[in-house]
Structures are given as structure tokens and as C-alpha cells.
């Protein structure tokens, strides 16, 4: 073999390389650099007057507003109020959503009756319903929590029954073939199988909950990040506005991180 190889060596040319690529990698360090550059440019723009204070406050001003909030102790009051609403609303919306979604996923009656109702109500902008919510749920915590609950309920329902629909029917047949009871099949096969979809639904509903926080706190809220943003908006205090928005962003990132952790924990069986 090698003799021949040596003999032909002169005429050989390497096979041209034509693979690779199409696998963009995100380099971790780039993101912070981009953020820092953007903020630096923004600060520079504001200092030089290139960006008028009317258009955007300087990041440093927003930071001052944030420090004011911290020093006055108001930050904790706002955060506590908002987090309480978020957690209660989101948790109960998600729980109810999982229950109703499971019913739709399992029973023909529920599917026939509830699914079209859910599809019809889901896209209604909650903000349009605020006046009715005030009448229905009062101006206390009720209507605020209800707004968030309403907003998170529907996507959870849809994610849950979608997840159940996608559970491998083969696994269910397997359960039946081993004589598992209906309850066992639901508990041990269907719900765990739908869990990835439910968790990714939770990710979406958490984002929606935060977005609706601002709407919810339009109703008679004294404290709360949403209320803080609304006051800032009505006073045209753009520094406070930016601060409030940044706080919401952070809450969003933290929620996403927690759900990511939950996914890692509950779905550790995945590849």
C-alpha cells in the first residue's frame, strides 16, 4: 500500500475543504462590552449635548435617581409591593392555567367547550379591560392581582394543553399495556411529559406578568415599580422613568434565571 502511495505522491493534491461554518458562537465577553460601550456613548452624548436631556436623560442621572430611591428606602417598598402582586398573580394564574390546560388536554368535553373560549379571550388586551376590572375586583390588591392572573392564565393554559398533546402517545400506550391506572398514567407519564412545555409556558407568562405590572399598577397603586414608572411618566421625570424600566428589566432577568434553574433541576433528564 505505502509503495504505491509514495509513487503517486507527486500527482496528488489535497481534497479541498468545504465544510464548517453556520454555527455562530456567541462569545461571552462581547455582551458586557457592548453594554458598556452603549452606556458610555449614551453618557457621552448627554454630556456633550449631542443627546438633548429632553430625549434621554444621561445614564448617570438615571443612576442618581436610582440611588435616591435606595437611600430614601422607597425602593424596598416599591419592590415589595410589586413582587407581592407579581408572585401572587403569576402563581395563581399559572396554577389555574395548568389545571384548566390539563382538563383541556385530557377531556373531550373540556376541549370542545373551553378551548375556543380560551382562544377567543386570550388576545384581548388586558389594558382595555382595566375600567371593568376596577368595577369587578375593586381598587385594592384584588384588581391588580387579577390583571396579572388574567394575563398569565391564558398562555399557561395553551402551553399546558399543547404540552399534553405532544406527549408521546407511545409512552401512554406503554403505560396502558402494563395495566397502569388512568391516574397513574396522568401523574407519571402525561404530566412529567408535558412539564418542559409547561415550564417554557411559565417563562412566557412571567414576561407577560411583568409587562402587565405596569398596567395593573395603573389602578390605585401607591407603591410598586409600575406605579413609580407611571408617576415618572406623568411628571416627565425621564431619569426616574429609565430607572424604573431598568428595574423591571432586572426583575425580568431574575425571573428568567429562576425558571432556567427550575428547568435545569426538573428537566435534568434531558440531553
Amino acid at each position: 500500500m505505502s509503495d504505491e502511495t509514495v509513487g503517486n505522491q507527486i500527482t496528488g493534491k489535497p481534497v479541498p475543504y468545504r465544510g464548517g461554518g453556520f454555527l455562530p458562537k456567541s462569545r461571552k465577553i462581547v455582551a458586557p462590552i457592548v453594554f458598556i460601550l452603549i452606556i458610555a456613548f449614551w453618557e457621552w452624548g448627554c454630556r456633550t449635548g449631542f443627546i438633548s436631556p429632553l430625549i434621554l436623560p444621561a445614564p448617570s442621572e438615571a443612576f442618581d435617581a436610582f440611588m435616591n430611591l435606595v437611600n430614601s428606602g422607597l425602593l424596598w417598598q416599591h419592590l415589595a409591593a410589586s413582587l407581592q402582586r407579581l408572585l401572587i398573580g403569576w402563581f395563581s394564574g399559572t396554577m389555574l392555567g395548568i389545571i384548566v390546560g390539563t382538563l383541556i388536554g385530557l377531556f373531550s368535553i373540556a376541549r370542545s367547550g373551553l378551548q375556543p373560549l380560551v382562544s377567543a379571550i386570550f388576545p384581548i388586551p388586558k389594558i382595555a379591560l382595566l375600567p371593568l376590572f376596577i368595577i369587578w375586583f375593586g381598587i385594592g390588591e384584588g384588581s391588580k392581582v387579577a390583571t396579572i392572573l388574567f394575563g398569565t392564565f391564558f398562555p399557561t393554559v395553551i402551553a399546558t394543553y399543547g404540552g399534553i398533546d405532544n406527549v408521546d402517545r407511545g409512552l401512554i400506550r406503554m403505560g396502558q399495556s402494563f395495566g397502569l391506572t388512568r391516574m397513574s398514567i396522568i401523574r407519571k407519564i402525561i404530566l412529567p411529559g408535558a412539564l418542559p412545555a409547561i415550564l417554557s409556558g411559565a417563562r412566557i407568562s412571567a414576561a407577560i406578568a411583568i409587562i402587565l405590572l405596569v398596567a395593573a399598577e395603573m389602578i390605585a397603586a401607591e407603591y410598586g415599580i409600575g406605579a413609580y414608572i407611571l408617576i415618572a411618566g406623568s411628571l416627565m421625570a425621564t431619569d426616574q422613568l429609565i430607572t424604573g424600566v431598568a428595574i423591571l428589566s432586572c426583575i425580568g432577568l431574575i425571573f428568567a434565571w429562576i425558571i432556567g434553574k427550575a428547568e435545569k433541576y426538573f428537566l435534568k433528564w434531558r440531553a
Binding site: L171, R173, F178, L180, G193, R270, A271
Partner: protein
């Protein structure tokens, strides 16, 4: 316990899938069912196990299953059907949890079947960590754990690469040598059929009818790879099926 299929006919909506199937599966026998794609083999096996009801005809259990049998008719599936969120032992305990067994008894069964399938080291592994062959071994262990009277296997090896297939086929033969289980074994693979089957049922194209039943008397242990008699049977089966297989392959799947 024997099984007897009587005049089984089935249709999905307008499509007739099976036509008048009569078949007996006797205790201690492996019955292989072969036939071209889409002829209704899987449907037939689902009926034998009570997962589907034939349009007409019936599947009868003749005699009682052994007293210690937890699930007389037990499947092994082509795609393994393991719960990805349970470990190897969790997948086995799944099918025991519904039975009135105490924890110690359950643990004993699990340890026993894992040992018999040489899986004891993989107890805590998740399915994603296992190769296809190992997954199917877990499925076999799970099936054995309920002490089945009849094993129903739907192409159990066809998702595996051919070397693993070879290894698992040896394992199935060894197991039969020891336990003499009863089985209905659906396959496309004629080599498997002649290796494992005491009786080979050849189905025609859809609607599946029994074209031929070939009985092979040679003991399983004697069926090594170089065996002119088996080769001859395999060749005969292939000639019987070749045209139908080709025709089944050339069909458009929808429209």
C-alpha cells in the same frame, strides 16, 4: 397459557387492514410475524395485547396465566418506550408501583431483572445516557419484571445498529433457553425470524391475510449463522415476499 386469534378482521375508516386472521400462539413458542410495510403487523400485535379492538373476531386467552404473573401480556416496543425522566430502576419500578408489592419485594424484583439483563451497573443512569442496545435491554428488564405469560415484541431490534442487533438477538436466544418464554415477535428481518421463530407467520400486503405459516423444528441453540437449512428457509421466505416488499416500498404514503 396459550393465545388464540379467531377470524380477526380490522379496518380503519374505509381501509381494510387485516382480513380473517386465525392463529394460535402456544405456550413456550416464539411466533414470528413477518410481512411487508403497512400490512397490519403492529395492528395485529396491539390486538393481541388488548390495546386495540378488532372490528370483528376475537383474541382468546386459553388457560390461566401463572399465579405470580403481574401482567400476562407484556410488550417490548421498537422505540423502547422508556420514560426519559426516570432512571433505569425508575422505569422498571414504574410498572410495579401499581401492584400490591411492598418496597422490599419490588426492590428484589428490580435487582433480579437488572442482574439477568446485565444492567446492574446502570441502575441510576437516565435513558439519554444509554446506547440504543442498552435502552432495549432496559425495556426487556422492565418486561421481565412483571413476570409475563406472553411477550409481545414489535420489531424490538429494528431501531438498533446491526452489530447491537446481533448481540441482543443472542441475548434473546439465551433468555429463551433459560426461561422458555412465550412470544409474538413482529419483524421485517427474515434473518431474525428464522433465528428466533418456532413458527413464522407470513402476512400478505394490506389487507393483511395469512399467506403461509412456516414451522421450524430446529432448537434455537442449534441455529448458528452458518446453517444451510435456515438459509434455505430464509431464501424461500424472501422469494415469497420480495415482490410485495417492493410494491409496498413504492407506494405513496398519502394523498
Amino acid at each position: 397459557m396459550d393465545l388464540s386469534l379467531r377470524h380477526i378482521t380490522h379496518r380503519y375508516d374505509e381501509v381494510e387492514v387485516l382480513r380473517d386472521i386465525n392463529l394460535d400462539i402456544e405456550q413456550g413458542q416464539i411466533v414470528c410475524i413477518i410481512g411487508p410495510s403497512g400490512c397490519g403487523k403492529s395492528t395485529l400485535l396491539r390486538m393481541i395485547g388488548g390495546l386495540e379492538r378488532p372490528a370483528s373476531g376475537e383474541v382468546l386467552q386459553l388457560g390461566e396465566p401463572p399465579a405470580d404473573c403481574l401482567n400476562p401480556l407484556t410488550y417490548i416496543f421498537q422505540d423502547f418506550a422508556l420514560l426519559p425522566w426516570r432512571t433505569v430502576e425508575g422505569n422498571i419500578s414504574l410498572v410495579l408501583e401499581n401492584h400490591p408489592l411492598d418496597a422490599a419485594a419490588r426492590e428484589e424484583i428490580i435487582a433480579d431483572v437488572l442482574a439477568r439483563t446485565k444492567l446492574s451497573d446502570f441502575r441510576k443512569a437516565y435513558p439519554r445516557q444509554l446506547s440504543g442496545g442498552m435502552k432495549q435491554r432496559v425495556a426487556i428488564a422492565r418486561a421481565l419484571s412483571v413476570r409475563p405469560a406472553v411477550l409481545l415484541m414489535d420489531e424490538p431490534l429494528s431501531a438498533l445498529d446491526s452489530q447491537t442487533r446481533e448481540l441482543l438477538m443472542d441475548d434473546l436466544v439465551d433468555l429463551w433457553e433459560k426461561e422458555n418464554y412465550t412470544a409474538a415477535y413482529v419483524t421485517h428481518n427474515l434473518a431474525e425470524a428464522v433465528r428466533l421463530g418456532h413458527k413464522i407467520v407470513v402476512l400478505s400486503r394490506r389487507p393483511g391475510e395469512i399467506r403461509d405459516i412456516v414451522e421450524i423444528d430446529m432448537p434455537l441453540s442449534a441455529r448458528t449463522t452458518e446453517n444451510a437449512e435456515l438459509e434455505a428457509i430464509q431464501k424461500r421466505l424472501w422469494n415469497l415476499m420480495r415482490d410485495e416488499a417492493r410494491a409496498a416500498d413504492m407506494e405513496l404514503l398519502d394523498e
